[in-house]
Symmetry: C2
């Protein structure tokens, strides 16, 4: 198994003890999960407080082991000047390079000095509006939009709130401290000034057992067991993309409210039929251990599939999608309660949890997600409990090398 | 210094390693803070994953060292039967006693099995509506409402949203894992069924450096340095209260949005004048170290107070309040962004952070809070950045002994 900490650098004397403690725990936990996993592909490391590398061939925060907290912000560009877009990306890159290493940025109120780096990553994406908006080629980039970078169609059941969807630019800050993530976004927003305004934002978190164990979503199931191991094949854009997208990837974000009141009233056996996995172990209904492969053909004595035809894991499985895989890196969200009208029986209209999953996936080609999700939106048994109310897609360029800014090669 | 872990029990073999690691770190960090602190009065312990005691003379979650996450829910009672209120409190007590020890409750979907206890506490409070509502003595308790338990007045600047205020019952779940706290509230809501519905809910978190250090609020300042050391004098109701409130306390909750966009545009020196403390160290402007006493009389060469007359810490200080103190146990909250009309220059109306402080204080007599805050609401320099939009007060009865239910002595 590859060392899951190869990105962990710059452990200062002050936080060495904490970070080292985290490494120790993770190494112990990780060892139990064994071989055959991709390089740190599905690890969740909630304890280390050191710094993640910022510069590199890929942006951090994509195949980086997930941190415990996320703050995702989508921005609308409010300038009509290409130069100001360039200067914004330069300023953001510089600030991200500083903050991820636990350093202050000019004018940040000194807040970062009191906090540890906490594995902060900042991941940037470009929305359709950077290329053209309302028919206007406002920055001279319309011709540079990759054909691959399509808009998402309307999916079955979509109940999208436009104020929680779209955006010209995205920044996701992830860290093992919610305030470190939020602090970073506040700095990006402050630095943006009148060049870009926040359009929507979403906080998120992961929880579960010890470091190295698959986190559990708000439905109580392990989430993230099945992930692509071959990132070059499934995540990173290769030669097929323009120069600036090579080493990059496409991000899909979906705000999925889960009717947890209804979910909590189901018995565990019913929940397991819907998901296709066992609740506590995470094993497929056809297996004994979390990482056992699904047996999609196994049937019971009556000839019914053991993993039902509309089970969530069947529809998302590579074997059911012509071998296609997506990298999921979402976070649970919890926005308290709100007055909500349910779309499923018993069609209650009252104060309900506004909580669920801020689904985030990365894929080399958005069509992979679209094809997979189109079928899930129609057939997934889980749809009885979920409502997609926010949606966005962004092109995340390749990583910046030292001295470059994020997306630089798009502007040359 | 008293051991901050005396409430930490039931370390199972599985989580001993983690919990022990937490103890070790905390002991190291705590040692640096030194003597003179009350018994664990202001410690913040974000790492231990063991269990806190549930039964005792006081409810847990009040003077308990703060956990990293909170989920606060206020309920409206929807039954008109006194017996159903009693059965609800019995059911909640039993569930809390189980869940805080990391055990499942019947029908909880097995979720707790995959999570560690994470120092979960559940703290219950009674709102005015338990005693009478809309003029109706619906449970025969109107005469039992203590005279001390007054309603909060309207304070200067209040912009209260009724849907985020009040409530007949409150439960705050705190834990070192956001999902553990939320899971507990979901179980309380499920168990309540048609006896009580959630009225409002608020998630919260703390962040900062290592265990034992004072956490930092969203303004980047250490928050919680000054806390009462004598809980019997300032927190717990004594002989002056009815039997059921002895060993209990009064809880005030205020949802305080902070205009962080404006705050972030201030330089640090100005922020420090407003607060009355130094940002990084937390020391008063008249001192060098975080725990130095405030010198409220110190003046500069021009005769001006070094801690300004309208500085936040001056107005909240015991010496400026006739020796009165309150125990603060609030959490930062972050509900993303929302369309907000600012009440201060530059009176912007646009998407802004819906984030700030879910202020929670405990005091032996609500009048202590009312007197202190009435002046702060009028004079505090910090008011330029804050808007109180939610408010509630609850009587938290004394703790339950094994075999009792929370509040039992109110119903005999």
């Amino acid at each position: 198994m590859a060392c899951p900490f190869k990105g962990l650098t710059d452990i200062t004397r002050r936080n060495f003890f904490t970070a080292a403690g985290g490494v120790g725990l993770a190494a112990v936990a990780g060892a139990g999960l064994g071989f055959g996993l991709g390089p740190a592909a599905r690890l969740f490391e909630r304890n280390p407080r050191g710094a993640e590398k910022f510069y590199g061939a890929h942006q951090a925060g994509i195949v980086t082991p997930q941190q415990s907290h996320s703050y995702f912000a989508a921005f609308d560009l409010t300038t009509d000047k290409r130069d100001e877009v360039v200067s914004l990306l330069k300023d953001w890159t510089e600030a991200a390079a500083q903050m991820t290493q636990g350093k202050s940025v000019a004018g940040d109120g000194g807040d970062a000095r009191g906090l540890l780096p906490s594995r902060l990553t900042a991941t940037f994406g470009f929305g359709a509006g950077l290329f053209s908006k309302d028919g206007s080629d406002r920055y001279g980039l319309a011709a540079r939009r990759p054909a691959t970078f399509v808009d998402l169609p309307k999916f079955a059941g979509d109940q999208l709130i436009m104020e929680k969807s779209g955006g010209d630019l995205s920044v996701q800050a992830c860290a093992n401290d919610p305030q470190v993530a939020f602090h970073a976004i506040r700095q990006f927003a402050r630095i943006a000034g009148e060049r870009a305004h926040i359009r929507w934002a979403q906080t998120g978190f992961l929880s579960g057992g010890n470091d190295g164990e698959t986190p559990r979503n708000l439905m109580g199931f392990k989430d993230g067991t099945q992930q692509p191991k071959d990132h070059d094949k499934f995540v990173w854009v290769g030669n097929e993309g323009p120069d600036w997208m090579q080493g990059g990837t496409y991000l899909v974000a979906r705000r999925i409210r889960i009717a947890l009141e209804h979910w909590d009233s189901m018995d565990v056996a019913a929940q397991e039929e819907i998901i296709g996995r066992k609740k506590i172990s995470g094993a497929p209904l056809t297996g004994r251990n979390e990482f056992d492969a699904l047996d999609l053909n196994a049937t019971d004595k009556d000839g019914n599939y053991i993993i039902p035809e509309n089970a969530h894991v069947r529809l998302g499985n590579a074997a059911a999608n012509g071998g296609a895989e997506i990298l999921r890196r979402g976070y649970s969200y919890n926005d308290g309660v709100n007055f909500i009208a349910e779309r499923w029986p018993p069609w209650r209209q009252r104060i309900e949890y506004d909580a669920g999953l801020h689904f985030i996936s990365y894929q080399r080609d958005p069509k992979t997600f679209i094809k997979m999700f189109d079928r899930m939106a129609k057939q997934d048994a889980l749809n009885q409990f979920t409502t997609h109310n926010g949606s966005a897609i962004f092109a995340c360029p390749g990583g910046a090398r030292a001295g470059e800014f994020i997306g630089q090669r798009l502007f040359v």
